[in-house]
């Protein structure tokens, strides 16, 4: 589903943020991306949804080479990728329903159909009773669940989440992660960037570790190594 070959990303005047990254995430996988602050986790996710272009190397997303994608094609790629980023907030003047429907508006989904799908999605994240509330009236965990609903309402094949539990207390963190696991069970490929080691412990998923822009460990590979002996 996501493949990176010798990907390097550098900004002019700075040492590379990512250096020769190779990795493969299969369809339906759940992957944690971890590493210290500044390791390049966010940058790696941005490359996947074409918010940035790699300096060198190739990136395949769903079979398409996004390193060479035309600007006009980027929107269509993004319709297959749900994104949960800390800096992509909810719109304060719009109801929860409208915020989630935003994703469907872009596709030209008629209001009646869109409403139905949004309500179903809100039910999945446990917020159907808050559909008409304004985001600022919700708790942090609830807001984050709305963001996840917005990312998932058009059934993307990939979900990218950057520190989705960043400023939530431990109880809510578990709640959000459980939700992401459920989404993954329903078939969506999920990549979560986090530096919360307790989550890695608790969920026992594949973990890709970045340090100073390089992949320093990948549990999938070490398991493969262990298996092949």
């Amino acid at each position: 589903m996501i493949q990176m070959f010798h990907v390097t990303k550098s900004y002019p005047g700075d040492p590379p943020v990512l250096t020769d990254v190779n990795l493969t995430v299969d369809k339906g996988e759940f992957v944690f991306l971890t590493g210290p602050s500044g390791a390049g986790k966010t940058t790696l996710l941005r490359l996947v949804f074409c918010d940035e272009k790699p300096t060198r190397g190739q990136i395949l997303v769903g079979g398409r080479n996004v390193a060479r994608i035309r600007a006009a094609s980027v929107p269509y790629l993004r319709r297959n990728i749900g994104v949960v980023f800390q800096d992509f907030k909810l719109l304060p003047h719009r109801t929860v329903l409208d915020n989630v429907a935003f994703t469907l508006d872009v596709l030209g989904t008629p209001r009646s159909e869109s409403r139905e799908r949004v309500l179903r999605m809100l039910k999945l994240v446990g917020l159907q009773h808050k559909a008409e509330s304004l985001p600022l009236k919700l708790s942090g965990g609830e807001q984050q669940r709305v963001v996840i609903a917005r990312a998932l309402v058009n059934d993307p094949t990939i979900l990218l989440a950057d520190e989705p539990t960043g400023n939530l207390d431990p109880g809510l963190t578990v709640e959000i992660l459980d939700l992401l696991c459920e989404v993954n069970v329903r078939g969506t490929t999920v990549v979560v960037a986090t530096h919360d080691a307790t989550l890695l412990e608790r969920y026992q998923k594949r973990v890709i570790r970045l340090e100073r822009g390089r992949v320093v460990s990948d549990t999938a590979q070490s398991e493969a190594v262990r298996r092949t002996g």
Partner: protein, 299 residues
């Protein structure tokens, strides 16, 4: 199918944008209103001036001086030819000319007494039909007449006609230039205010792009806002022009009645000018928003 749903989204987004951020829109509408009002007034003014110039042009008289004692038959042929081309022709005999001069001079006419019995040559006075009221045509006519046997000279107020023509041209170009500057300034202001509106909604734009909106989709609501601004500005200008028509035009008309300028009502009002003004407004609004959105999306 998606078209209707999208159109609905665009309109909702545009109206919400105006509601949450009314100030820049008000500024844009006022600017557009003032510009379009000026445009409307300017057009009425230029129509009045053109009409004035044209009616002054009617006063242009061509005098064809004839050789004293030229055969009546030749003069008749010449007159008939000119009448055939639409000119009014009046023969002024030497006697008539002297009488007219005497009348015009009044008491000073005594001075004429000692002169020969026919001091002035006979002439034809021509009323110029509209088709001939421009300097080039008149000059050509004068040259042509000059070559005819009974004609000694042709007088057609060359300088006056040319000066009027030049004045009309200068006014027209000056007006166009002023309009162009006015329109550019308006587009710049509208574009600047819409950039404010876009800035206020940058999060919305960012999220739209994140969930896969095309540039066209992001642009549409802002273009609608520009369009609405243009129409609102035009409506404002129409109200202003109606006020002018009602309170300012009548006294002006009485004041300048002697100029026989047509009522500005015709130029200001009417379905056609209303639609034109709305159209120009819509175009300016669209252009302004298009520039703003293009710049904002590139950034």
């Amino acid at each position: 199918m998606g078209g209707v749903a999208k159109a609905e989204v665009f309109w909702r987004s545009a109206l919400q944008g105006i509601r949450h951020q009314p100030f820049p829109h008000v500024v844009a509408v006022l600017t557009l209103g003032i510009a379009l009002f000026t445009l409307g007034l300017g057009r009425a003014g230029s129509l009045a001036v053109e009409h004035l110039l044209r009616s002054l042009g009617t006063e242009v008289q061509v005098t064809v001086w004839l050789r004293p004692g030229a055969p009546q038959a030749d003069v008749d042929v010449l007159s008939a030819a000119l009448r055939g081309r639409g000119f009014g022709v009046q023969l002024v005999t030497p006697r008539a000319a002297v009488e007219r001069l005497t009348r015009e001079l009044g008491p000073a006419a005594d001075a004429l007494r000692g002169l020969a019995s026919e001091p002035l040559p006979p002439s034809l006075e021509l009323q110029v039909p509209p088709a001939w009221r421009d300097p080039a045509a008149l000059r050509q006519l004068a040259d042509e007449l000059q070559r005819q046997a009974p004609v000694t000279a042709v007088d057609w107020g060359e300088a006056a006609v040319e000066r009027l023509g030049a004045l009309a041209r200068a006014l027209r170009w000056g007006g166009l230039f002023a309009f162009a500057i006015l329109l550019c300034a308006t587009v710049v202001v509208v574009s600047a205010t819409l950039q404010l509106a876009i800035y206020a909604r940058r999060e919305e734009v960012e999220i739209q792009k994140l969930v896969g909106a095309t540039d066209r989709f992001v642009r549409a609501p802002f273009l609608i806002e520009g369009l609405l601004q243009g129409m609102a500005g035009a409506a404002l200008a129409l109200v202003g022009l109606a006020a002018v028509l009602h309170w300012v035009a009548p006294p002006l008309e009485t004041l300048f009645a002697f100029l026989r300028v047509p009522s500005p009502a015709a130029a200001l009002w009417g379905l056609r000018s209303t639609l034109e003004l709305l159209g120009v407004g819509a175009l300016l609004g669209l252009l302004g928003s298009f520039l703003a959105v293009s710049r904002a999306l590139r950034a």
